[in-house]
């Protein structure tokens, strides 16, 4: 079963759109469509654990509770910080490096996965930067993973997509 990570920008868009379903922007329709498709397909849907920590105290609100019921928190696995530091050397901002590192070395609540298949973001500069530097990032990750034990030596870069792109 493929796994997807919605970054904080996508998570915010979905949550906000649930409050005004009668007045959705085209971007909100796009992210809600994505959210629906991923649920119908039954994929594992993650958000960074930071998003869950922000929203958890508002879970008594239906809009927040429903969203949280459809996602799992993705926690930092070992080497997230190290990989994020290396990503910063390739021109990623601190937050972008962290979310990409999380998509590479993140894990679920039981430590049964390492990384996700797809990272979804609305952040076009991040998408562009990733596309441009993807090859060198793969090489850099390979160099890093060679020195690591199982399962960290098998870490792989995610596919990064905009919600408007075909994801399934």
């Amino acid at each position: 079963m493929p796994s997807y990570l919605l970054d904080k920008s996508v998570a915010r868009r979905i949550v906000e759109s649930l409050y005004h379903l009668d007045n959705l922007s085209s971007e909100e329709v796009m992210v809600l469509n994505l959210w629906r498709r991923l649920q119908i397909e039954g994929v594992r849907l993650f958000v960074p654990i930071g998003v869950v920590n922000i929203l958890r105290r508002f879970a008594h609100l239906v809009e927040i509770g429903v969203f949280l019921s459809t996602v799992e928190p993705l926690r930092s696995g070992c080497y997230v910080k190290r990989w994020a530091r290396r990503l910063r050397q390739h021109g990623f901002t601190r937050e972008d490096a962290l979310v990409l590192a999380l998509a590479t070395y993140g894990t679920d609540a039981t430590g049964d996965i390492l990384g996700v298949d797809v990272l979804i973001t609305l952040d076009k500069p991040l998408l562009n930067h990733f596309q441009v530097h993807q090859l060198e990032l793969r090489t850099r990750l390979l160099t890093m993973t060679r020195q690591l034990s199982m399962p960290y030596c098998r870490a792989a870069l995610p596919v990064m997509l905009h919600p408007g792109e075909s994801v399934l």
Partner: protein
Amino acid sequence: MTIMENAPSRHVQQVAELVRRLDRDEIRQLIWLVPQLQAESETVTWKQGDSAQEVRQREDLVRWVRDRMAQYAYPAHPMRGEDAFLGDMTVEAYFALPEAERERIWDELYAAAIKTSQEHEVKPDAVVPAR
């Protein structure tokens, strides 16, 4: 926007009255003389069709979301304006903010939320995406 959102001008109505009197061959001749008529007609038809489809898809999507929310368990309740929400604000105050300000609040909360995040061990036989 659909073509009939604004009432046709008197001038357009007069032209339309003339066109209605034309037979099929004369209409073809008119289109030959004014090819914009056909091009514009195709554009308008496409836009109207697309718009209607978009509306249906949007309604379908909203219905699906509302169904999901209706199934969400008591004692949760739908957001109300006076409910406490992000950034120590009420729901009403939060959604009254411009997009850029909501994004700033969200980013600040997120930065604080990940500041102290710990790294966790992953099982040696963990599932790794196949790439």
